[in-house]
């Protein structure tokens, strides 16, 4: 075999999740190899095994004929494996050359040799076809595309035999992506193996020679790109058995409670959707498709630049979360630790936070009503806490999430937006959240569920809108129409 690197039988388990399950795959010298799969399919975990960021529980990695049971970050670098992460680790205030040579600048004695540094950076930049930028430009002044190139330049200052690109085009414009692909192709012709992780099918067909499909931590297949088409690829990515039982709400959708028409804002454009009383609207899409941003816009936490928001048949302008809360909208954010909770405060002070104004007279909080509200929420949602005065940081993930939910139950909002409510919580808490969503719908609330978990969104929703590139790309209007392949197609930008 002419594989530069291959893995065999790699398994990695985290509590409750098998992130990689007996994965075997080889990457040939100088090939551009794409890895695709849904969110959580194990792509990033595999990448981390190769970069040495994590050690596999089982299996071996073979690099140029040498077998390893796992790599350390140091070993991985020494073998010429370089990773360019989705989120760039750059120091914006420093110059391009400082970033390119960060950690190991050329030096004469104890002095940094800026002349060599500049010349070397120039050479690498030219090699990447980036004559337009100067080694002395600050990184912050560059476009995201050029910032990505600086990252590649950084990799090229070291020995590089395998270059792993994780979603490299997610922040790039089409033109910038074109330049990136040219560079990638140039590198591969020089014998560098390229591992290309992407959600975007068209990119794979454009530059990759082979593609590996992953699903639920397993390696499904490796195929030549020339011998496969999009539909087949999508079929390979999805098509798994449902293994969870979802409660079904029996509410009949009533009148439209929330409708947005052609709204645009930061990272979303021309979004139109509606949700009715007693209905759960699922928002599917890949991570970064603009669902969260749209919801923040509707909630008044991000600016809507154009379009209309209608609540209960009346047009409203949401300038701030206060406005939308007043109009009966509740938003449960994606990240409970940074957006949902005040970790340093007790359970009680988190639960009653949005309700305080209602609970007080002349600015003084009615303690009895406050305690009643908090105790009722803790009981109804079965939050496991020694007392309402326990600081939330000490609670488990599932119970923390329930505290976030409890915050909004007290407000009796009519429109509830749940952004990834089950992310990182245990199975039984998940079930409780699903039950809660259904109960809310049955009580006549309008519920929007943003989720990247395919089973969940198909299991819980009454209707699904699929986001792609910041807008609604397709809609599945009833449960009978739900089809995982269809959703994946919409989410990948295929109509």
């Amino acid at each position: 075999m002419n594989d530069f690197i291959s893995v065999k039988g790699i398994t990695k388990t985290y509590p409750g999740v098998r992130a990689l399950d007996d994965v075997s795959v080889g990457f040939a010298r100088g090939e551009i190899h794409a890895i695709i799969g849904e969110n959580g399919a194990g792509k990033s975990t595999l990448m981390k095994v190769l970069s040495g960021a994590i050690q596999p529980d089982q299996g071996t990695i073979t690099v140029e004929g040498h077998e390893y049971n796992g790599l350390t970050p140091r070993q991985s670098l020494d073998l010429g494996i370089q990773v360019i992460y989705q989120e760039l680790n750059q120091i914006g205030n420093l110059s391009v050359m400082d970033n390119v040579f960060i950690g190991s600048p050329p030096h004469k004695g104890i002095l940094v040799d800026f002349k060599t540094m500049e010349a070397e950076t120039r050479r690498i930049l030219d090699q990447l076809g980036m004559g337009a930028i100067s080694p002395r430009d600050t990184v912050a002044s560059l476009t995201p595309g050029y910032q990505q190139m600086v990252e590649i330049a950084k990799a090229l200052t070291k020995k590089v035999k395998l270059l792993i690109l994780d979603e490299p085009t997610s922040a790039l414009s089409t033109g910038e992506a074109d330049t990136l692909f040219e560079v990638v192709e140039k590198l591969s012709r020089k014998g560098v193996t390229i591992l290309f992780i992407s959600h975007r099918l068209e990119e794979i067909f454009r530059i990759a020679s082979r593609v590996t499909v992953m699903r639920d931590g397993k390696m499904i297949t490796t195929r030549k790109v020339s011998e496969i088409d999009r539909t087949e690829l999508i079929n390979l990515m999805v098509g798994r058995d449902f293994n969870e039982v979802f409660p079904v709400s029996h509410a009949c959708p009533g009148e439209t409670l929330l409708e947005v028409k052609h709204i645009s804002g930061p990272r979303f454009h021309d979004v139109s959707l509606y949700v009715r009383r007693g209905e759960i609207l699922g928002l599917a899409g890949l991570v970064g498709a603009g669902r969260t941003e749209t919801m923040l816009g509707i909630f008044g936490a991000a600016r809507i630049t154009s379009g209309e928001v209608w609540i209960k048949g009346k047009q409203k302008i949401m300038k701030s979360p206060q406005d939308s809360i007043r109009h009966g909208v509740a938003f449960l954010p994606e990240n409970r630790k940074t957006q949902g909770l005040i970790l340093s405060l007790p359970v009680k002070n988190n639960i009653d936070l949005p309700s305080l104004k209602r609970l007080s007279r002349w600015f003084v909080i009615d303690k009895k009503a406050d305690d009643r509200l908090v105790e009722k929420s803790i009981e109804e949602l079965a939050i496991k806490t020694p007392s309402k005065d326990q600081v939330v940081v000490n609670l488990s993930g599932g119970n923390q999430q329930k505290v976030v939910v409890a915050k909004w139950m007290g407000m009796e909002s009519d429109i509830l937006i749940f952004d990834e409510p089950t992310k990182g919580i245990d199975v039984s808490s998940k079930q409780e959240i699903y039950n809660l969503l259904c109960q809310l719908a049955e009580k006549g609330k309008a519920v929007i569920l943003v989720s990247s978990d395919m089973e969940e969104i198909m299991g819980v929703s009454d209707r699904i809108a699929v986001f792609y590139e910041g807008t609604v790309w397709g809609e599945l209007k009833s449960r009978d129409e739900f089809d995982e392949k269809k959703i994946m197609q919409y989410a990948s930008g295929i109509k």
Partner: protein
Amino acid sequence: MKAQIQKRNIKNFLQNNVILLFLLLLCIFFAVSSDKFLTANNLFLVIRQVSVLGVASLAAAIITLSGGLDISIGNQMTLYALVAAHLMVNRKMSMAVAIPAALCLSLVVGFIIGYVINKFQINPFVATLAFSTVFSGISFGITGGYQISHFSDAFKFISQGYIGAVPMPVILMLIILIAGAFVLNKTCLGRYIYSVGGNEEASRLSGINTQKIKVGAYVAGGFLAGIAAIMMAARLNSVSTTCGDGYTFDAMTAIMLGGVSVRGGKGKVSGILIGILIIGVLNNGLTLIGVESFIQNIVKGLIMLAAICSDSVIYRKRG
């Protein structure tokens, strides 16, 4: 689980009371070292001395709890005290005009500081460092550098009078601290201050107007600094351009000793009370046993450092 919680409760109890223990130890130490320390006269002196600091500390605490910081409190106090004194002594105004005028100024100044910091999203440390120099310049301009003295007896009563056996400033301080505790614990405003200081983004997404709260904390802080300044002027008989110096440091040390986190969102008024008593006892006791002022500075600086370190350790433990 239960045993764990119990253990945590004991730990919490010790943590909360370590500082009280420290106060007691200090008192015992000074009582042994100096026979004057435990006299009624001296103890009264201590609590009268800390009254001004108590009010100034509440100012610092409210700002810090909201996630801000104000190191111009001492210079603000000088300014407000001088404005009140100038109006009363040089302009012959009644204190019924001069005191409200100084307090109005404190509200305006607090608003300006808060607005500038939040509007331009600048680091409050550097911003209030700049402000403090501005205030000190204005203070000098008002007096030309001279002291202002000869206050009316009615004005001096604010800090030198007694109601029964209790000194007036102590009564004022207690009323203000109790009012502060009430606002912080029992009103929306107080709870919002804690939540914004604890996590601004989560508070915003809970429908709190975080900008309003953050600016409001500076306004409240300015107003309390104004009250502290009046009490200070009434106690001193005369005010100069340096009379408020040291209050920023003492107030910050007191609140940190009292468990107010510099990261915001955490701290209690009861803790602050203990914090100011420690500062008061320390200032008084070290002088009584004849420790020179430069050594007093070293001791106080080290104590502040210890308070910051323990805050950081507690923070990181809780992750």
